[in-house]
Amino acid sequence: MERNTELIIKDLKKTYGKNKVIRGIDFELHEGERVVVLGPSGSGKSTFLRCINRIEEPTGGMISFDGTIVTDRNIRKIRRDIGMVFQHFNLINNLTVMENLTLAPVKLRVMKRDAAEKRAKELLRHIGLSNKANSYPASLSGGQKQRIAIIRAMMMSPEVLLFDEPTSALDPESIGDVLSLIRELADRGMTIMIVTHEMSFAREIATRIVFIDKGKIIEEGTPTEFFEHPKTPRVREFLNKVL
């Protein structure tokens, strides 16, 4: 099946002073794919994800999204189509849940306020948090915050969703809630990239696993290939430790 290529990344580099965090990554993401990025901590996997929508400014290489080369000038427009979910949720503290959900779509004229609020209510009802519409983030649990952060990203109807360790700051019970919401998006055909340490979830949800170590992709493949028949010693060592 011929699929639309969402993202092409060539020779991506990111350095902080002398510290080379990303040392040349080539990568492609196709529509409907669910790529899970694995790797030891400090390998640069989060930085890789954050370079894609320029939350971190890359120091080298090229990224093109939907056929357009990403630059400082067009990045704001492109970010509307790339949703991001953070490890620490990053709901806006001074805004209510409803305001968090509607701020961007209304400000960026993606939707009228009425329409945005209607959609926000639907999504809140869907995740069972209708009663939290007027609450502030401070009064929510981690799991609630993260599920709201996910639907906040969905409000913009993005083409791609990036998840940066979405469950790393959660208690075990909330992790299940958040993962099932991600699973649901996956089932609906959302194009997804996830950085995570949840191995069984990675195995279950991924169409492709990418393993990053020391700022480079050193192995990629289907979950079966990756988990059953790892090619490189580094991945074998990693899997031995985490499984």
Binding site: R79, G83, H88, F89, N90, N93, N94, Y136, A149
Partner: protein, 234 residues
């Protein structure tokens, strides 16, 4: 003791003295008010330049701002006042109240800038990142996300700075201006009441009440801002 009460009676029954005190108080308030206004305006600009993302255009402004803050914070207020009076505005007939307002305003700006800068930097970076990821502009991110959260951190420290300015203006008496502090000294001097205790305590009371009022208002504002932070349900 009866002498003390007699002096109180004397102070409050002599219209001249009351007039002097009120005049002095008015000057103190005028200088403080406009100095604080300048301080907040200029301080905000300095803080914004200081916290802006580094770029080619901002190299010089950033340098100017940091040098300015360093100089103001590194020298005594009294000396800054002298320099304003005896060097920069040593112009015959130039209104001394304006010179004083400028001197205190420029001084307060440096401290206010630090307060505002601290407030802005204390907002979690994730808040900005969330705004960026949604495609919001820098201006929207600042106005809707960063500024409202920074203000919560700024208000208490800004209250302190306002109080400091009001008390510090007392040194205008060093350049011969007739503020509340000077009024107390004048009324207590030999050719007037010939006793310092009552006028000085009265002046102290004026300062205390003013500052108490400001503290009260700041606390109220703080509380109002915090309420929206922790409100659970509506």
């Amino acid at each position: 003791m009866s002498d003390f009460f007699a002096k109180i009676a004397e102070l409050f029954s002599t219209p001249e003295y009351i007039d002097s005190l009120l005049h002095g108080f008015l000057l103190t308030i005028q200088v403080s008010y406009f100095a604080i206004l300048i301080g907040i305006l200029l301080g905000t600009i300095i803080a914004l330049v200081d916290t802006a993302k580094p770029s080619r255009w901002l190299v010089v402004p950033k340098f100017i701002c940091s040098t300015y803050v360093a100089i103001i914070r590194g020298t005594p207020m009294a000396l800054q006042l002298f320099i304003m009076f005896f060097i920069i505005f040593a112009i015959r007939g130039f209104p001394s109240i304006i010179t004083a307002i400028i001197a205190f305003g420029l001084n307060s700006a440096a401290y206010t800038a630090e307060v505002i800068r601290g407030g802005i930097l204390s907002v979690d970076k994730g808040q900005t990142e969330a705004g960026m990821a949604l495609g919001l502009s820098q201006t929207t991110i600042f106005m809707k996300i960063v500024a409202p959260q920074a203000i919560k951190n700024i208000i208490p420290a800004l209250g302190n700075e306002i109080i400091t300015v009001i008390k510090e203006t007392a040194i205008v008496s060093m350049v011969g201006m007739y503020d509340l502090n000077m009024a107390a000294k004048d009324i207590g001097s030999g050719q007037n009441m010939a006793s310092y205790i009552v006028p000085m305590f009265t002046a102290a009371l004026f300062y205390l009440v003013t500052i108490y009022l400001i503290t009260f208002i700041v606390k109220r504002i703080e509380k109002g801002l915090r309420r929206s932070d922790l409100r659970a349900e509506e």
